[in-house]
Amino acid sequence: MTTAVEFLRITDLHAFYGESHILHGVDLSVNRGEVVTLLGRNGAGRTTTLKSILGLVGHRSGSIMINGREAIGLPPHKIAHLGIGYCPEERGIFSSLSCEENLLLPPVVASTGLSVDEIYDMFPNLKERRMSQGTRLSGGEQQMLAVARILRTGAQLLLLDEISEGLAPVIVQALGRTIRMLREKGYTIVMVEQNFRFAAPLADRFYVMEHGRIVEAFSAGEMRSKMGMLHEFLGI
C-alpha cells in the first residue's frame, strides 16, 4: 500500500446562505485517489458542503486545504484552478450553448483530461445529439453531459452531486464503470449520493451528515457493521 497523500482537508467549516446557518463545523478529509461518499437525508447539508468547497455559498468560515493550499479566502474561479471539477445537483446545462459547446466550455485546468473522443465513446447519446441545444436534451442526457464536461478539464478532484439521479439503470451502471475507471486513473472523487446502492460498491469511505454536521465516518470495510446505524439515519 502506498502512503496516503491528503488531497482535501476541511476543518471546522461553517457555511451560511444569507442569514441561515447551514453548516456547523464540518470536518472531513480525502486522500489522493480516494472515492468518498457523503450520505445523509434531504437537506442535511451535503450539497452545501460541495458548494462551500468552491466558494459558492453566501459566506463561509473554517479551513479548506486543497492540495496543500488554503482555499477559504479564494474566489471560486481561483479555486477551480486548483484542480477541481464540479458537477452540480441541478446539472447546469446551458441552453444557449449546443451540446458540444457545453462539453467544451469549462476551461482546461490540467493537461490530464480525457479527450473528446474518449468522452463520446463513453456516452454515445451525447455524440448523437452533439449539435442539439443544451437544454433540449432529455433529463438523463443532460446528466451525462454534466459529468462528461468536467472529465475533459483534467481536474483531479471531482465533486459529483447526485449524478445517478434520473438515470436509467443501464446508464447508472455505465456511470459506475466510469467512476471505477476514473479511480484507477488516480482521480480523487467526492460524491454526494441519495442512491446508496449505487454508491456503496464504489466508495472507499463514507461520511454521514445530519443537520450540517458530520455524524459518522467509516470505510468500505466497516460497512456491514454500520448497516444498523445507516438504517436509523437514512432508512436504508
Binding site: 471560486p76 474561479h77 477551480a80 484552478h81 452540480p88 476551461p107
Partner: protein
C-alpha cells in the same frame, strides 16, 4: 417611376437615410442586449451614457482641441470606464435581487446623470462640426448623400458585426453566453465571472458612447438627447426580442428604415410607427421577432 406616389429616387434616398438612423438604434439596442445578457439588467441609463459619449466629443474639441477621430477612440474608453465604476460601485449590490430593481436603479442613475449635465451645460445644446475628412457629399444619382452619413452606417455596421462575431463565434463569447445563464457555475469552472461582468458592462456602455460620438455632428448635443431616444430603443428591443445579438442589429436597422419611410408617407406618425409595430409584433409573436420563449 414611382412607388406609391413617391419618385423612386426619393424613395431610395429615404431608404438610405432610414438606414443611418437604424444604425443608431442598432448600436444602442445591441449595447442593451449585451448588458442585459450578462447582468440581466435593462440599462435605463443607456441613453444618458450615449449622451455622455457625445459630450466627451464636444469637450475634447472644446477644451483640448482634439478632433472627431480622437473622440471616437477616447469616448468609449472614458464612458466605458465610467460604466465600469458604476458597475463596481452600484450594480453589484443588486444582482441577486429581482431584475426590476436593476431597471429602477438605472432609471435613477439616468436622472442623476442627465440632471448633472443640465446643471453644467444647460439645455440649449452644443455645436459640433462634421469632421473635415468626411465633409461634403457624394452624388449617388438618386440622391446627394453626405459623406458623413455614409460613414455612420459603415462604422456602426463594423462595430455591430464585430460584436456579433465575438459573442456568437468565439470561446470568450461562449463564456459570456454561459455566464448569462448561470454565472455561479461558470465561475466554478474557473472563469473569472465578476471581471467578465464588469468588462461586459463597460463594453455595452462603450457601444452607447460610440453611438453618442457618431451622433454628435448630426444632431444637437444636449443633456436630453439620450432620454429622447431610449424609449424608442426599448421598443426596438421588445420588437427584436433580446434573445439574439444579430436580432437586435437587424431589428434596429429595419426599424430605422421603416421609420424613414413613414417620414415620407405620413410624417406625423413617424414617431409612433415604432410603437405601432411593437403592438402588432406582440400580438403575432409575443417573444419578439428573434426572441425565444423562455
Amino acid at each position: 417611376m414611382e412607388i406609391f406616389g413617391v419618385p423612386i429616387q426619393a424613395f431610395l434616398g429615404q431608404l438610405l437615410l432610414g438606414l443611418v438612423n437604424g444604425s443608431f438604434y442598432a448600436m444602442l439596442s445591441l449595447g442593451l442586449a449585451v448588458i442585459f445578457g450578462l447582468l440581466n439588467i435593462i440599462n435605463f441609463s443607456h441613453g444618458a451614457l450615449y449622451m455622455m459619449g457625445a459630450y466627451v466629443a464636444f469637450l475634447a474639441l472644446d477644451l483640448l482641441g482634439l478632433g472627431f477621430w480622437w473622440s471616437l477612440a477616447l469616448a468609449p474608453l472614458i464612458v466605458g470606464g465610467f460604466g465600469i465604476i458604476i458597475e463596481r460601485l452600484l450594480m453589484r449590490w443588486i444582482y441577486k435581487l429581482d431584475h426590476l430593481y436593476g431597471l429602477l436603479l438605472t432609471f435613477g442613475l439616468a436622472l442623476i446623470i442627465e440632471g448633472v449635465y443640465r446643471y453644467f451645460f444647460g439645455v440649449s445644446g452644443q455645436p459640433y462640426p462634421v469632421p473635415d475628412a468626411l465633409r461634403g457629399a457624394t452624388d449617388l444619382g438618386f440622391m446627394i448623400l453626405p459623406n458623413y452619413r455614409a460613414f455612420v452606417v459603415l462604422a456602426s455596421l463594423i462595430v455591430c458585426l464585430g460584436t456579433w462575431y465575438v459573442i456568437e463565434r468565439t470561446r470568450l463569447g461562449a463564456y459570456l453566453r454561459a455566464g448569462t445563464e448561470n454565472p455561479q457555475l461558470v465561475q466554478a469552472f474557473g472563469v473569472n465571472v465578476p471581471l467578465m461582468v464588469t468588462l461586459t458592462f463597460g463594453f455595452g456602455v462603450a457601444l452607447a458612447a460610440i453611438g453618442g460620438v457618431l451622433a454628435a455632428p448630426v444632431i444637437q448635443i444636449n443633456p436630453l438627447m439620450g432620454s429622447n431616444i431610449i424609449i424608442v430603443v426599448f421598443a426596438v428591443v421588445v420588437i427584436g426580442g433580446m434573445g439574439s445579438i444579430l436580432g437586435s442589429i437587424l431589428t434596429g436597422l429595419g426599424l430605422g428604415v421603416i421609420e424613414g419611410l413613414a417620414k415620407v408617407y405620413y410624417a406625423e406618425a413617424s414617431s409612433t410607427v415604432v410603437f405601432v409595430i411593437m403592438a402588432i409584433v406582440l400580438m403575432v409573436r409575443p417573444a419578439g421577432l428573434f426572441g425565444k420563449e423562455k
